[in-house]
Symmetry: C2
Subunit: 343 residues, 2 copies
DNA sequence: GTTAGCACTCGACTTCAAAGAGTGCTAACG
DNA sequence: CGTTAGCACTCTTTGAAGTCGAGTGCTAAC
């Protein structure tokens, strides 16, 4: 749907004014904000049409207009100026994500916290999906006479460890056998190929040793499962209170939604583009019906992607936050790639 | 300060009624809740004295009474019935913390979440302090030609790992040297004795090898520092919205306070008893002036302690939540001790 | 010491009116 | 035909005034 240039100007002004103040915008206010040579009556006419088209709405008859979700959508898609990020903001973001010698989890956790502080929104990020990751290394660290810690390292730099308990006392030949199994069956293996079926054939092939090795092998498998799961890092939940009125009654639901990692990772993984904005009900989660999500995805070595995003009210400042989220996400992606390939 | 038996009855009734309803309690309401054979006028007289003594207050002249912090304190110290926990509640808690083969962090994180859900409050827990912990094991896992991962395991079961980068290509003699250093200087060493001074003398004693070993040694030291830090696990921040009115304007401050782990660990570490209740301004944190904290401490092998607690409004249900927090904390302590000694 | 009775206080809720913001419509204008 | 001035209309907000009711504090009597 195409709008006349004047309608676009008016829509943009309404959106921007409403984002700034949170108050419905009237025709006179618009008149002074707009450098158009028409009267308020004309603007009223235009606005009435924008209401009919579904881009604006009135809270009540005698109030100004506020954008509908469709209004925000049109604004984001067509009207929003994509001014490049200010150099000083770039510096700030660079400083915010810089952290050295850190694990991917720590990097993303810090990025979430920083992004939340910067945007006054709740921020989320997910670790790279383990779908295309392989097992890079498995180590066994004896801890007690019958227990040891198994450490698994994936090609995506994720480290998982788990204490595992043997039914009999450990001895060096057992450990040697374990490393042989690791070498022949686990190293280089894609995480998602380690399922119960492969595990069973593996155990079957071990013959006599099966019984003693089962705890170790299944621990490795557990760790692989765990490493595949994307983790969700949260930041700035307290910022939800900042826009409490905008969320209305969904504030509690929203906070509760953020607690549970799983739906968030689905939310973030849902979008196929490098970058995505979901406005209000556009995402199918009821808890987010009064919220907008701005998210971007990073890639590590091509195809392992994770996401970073912010969740705010629908009247979030799209124009200035979108570039920030994108820039930060790109930076984090680079940082992660670099950490990973830094051998 | 001693109160007459009748005053105690009245104070207890006011506290309990206010906790339940959140409404100021009047003399007539009290009359029906209390099985005392006096008139409402007598109760009024008693209440007036309780106000004078500082245990009750009136929001305004013509309203009922609500407890002051001192009132809650007297209630908790002298009046609250310490009924033993219901068997079904015990079962529920046992089910809530049960989790197998998990790290201390995972156990505590789960306990926090569960406690938050059960009590409708925000819940926090801290990992055991590393003060009396020693280094149990250090492993080096090569990752690339110049990088490797160092894994440190403490006597308290904490596992920390870190990628570390050498200035020259790794070879087996370097790794051997590293393990020798670990064996002679790190194993069994208390974490808090690894400071820059000891590190310097250690490096000095290495002579020729100092340069190549420095990255590894300092990584171990970093990990030791990290392992000493108590971590804070949070649960149920969203529950703050549940009692939003009670927190008044401090709701945001409270959430923000919860974000930062450091003050929380100070708060929890501050109390010397096995168990502690801080009511309103009793804890010196301004952000908590409208909140009460119920916390308990667990011990692992005698002296390594951590804490678990809940943070709610001052009109939190002390009588039923205190036993729950204690029971859960004891359980978690046992679980951690067991996990640790399960060699 | 306890109680009944009563005047009094003060917030909560309702009603009403006035103010103000903003609209939609109509008629006139270029 | 698009634009505009003018105006009646609608609906929220604000504040004042009034009522209600819960609850108190005090006094006088038991």
């Amino acid at each position: 749907m195409e709008l006349s240039q004047r309608k676009e100007k008016i829509l943009a002004a309404v959106v921007e004014h409403y984002i700034k103040t949170g108050e419905p915008v009237g025709s006179k206010t618009l008149l002074s904000a707009l450098d158009i040579n028409v009267s308020s009556a004309t603007i009223r006419n235009e606005m009435a049409e924008l209401v009919a088209l579904g881009f604006l709405e009135q809270p009540h008859t005698s109030a100004g207009r506020i954008p509908t979700n469709e209004g925000y959508r049109y604004y984001v898609d067509h009207l929003m100026g994509v001014r490049p990020l200010d150099e000083s903001v770039k510096r700030q973001i660079e400083a915010g994500v810089s952290i050295k010698n850190a694990s991917p989890e720590a990097i993303l956790a810090k990025a979430s916290e920083f992004l939340a502080d910067m945007t006054d929104c709740a921020a989320v990020s997910t670790t790279p999906s383990g779908e295309n990751a392989t097992i890079k290394r498995v180590e066994f660290v004896p801890v007690g006479t019958r227990t040891g810690m198994i450490v698994l390292l994936t090609s995506t730099g994720v480290i998982k460890s788990k204490v595992c308990r043997s039914d009999v006392d450990l001895n060096s030949s057992m450990i040697e056998k374990f490393y042989n199994i690791v070498k022949s069956s686990f190293l280089g293996m894609p995480l998602d190929e380690i399922d119960t079926a492969t595990l069973q054939t593996l155990v079957a092939s071990m013959g006599m040793d099966a019984l003693t090795m089962i705890p170790f092998v299944s621990a490795v498998s557990d760790l692989a499962q765990e490493a595949m799961k994307t983790m969700v890092m949260l930041g700035g939940q307290s910022n939800i209170l900042r826009y409490r009125d905008d969320y209305g009654t969904t504030a509690y639901e929203l906070m509760d939604f953020l607690r549970r990692g799983e739906p968030i990772s689905r939310l973030l993984a849902n979008s196929k583009e490098d970058f995505d904005v979901k406005i209000g009900g556009e995402n199918k989660f009821k808890q987010l019906e009064n919220s907008s999500v701005i998210m971007a995805h990073y890639n590590i070595d091509g195809d392992n992607r994770g996401s970073i995003g912010i969740i705010g009210p629908t009247r979030i400042d799209y124009a200035s936050l979108i570039p920030s989220v994108r820039y930060l996400t790109d930076l984090v992606g680079e940082l992660l790639t670099q950490t990973l390939n830094d051998d």
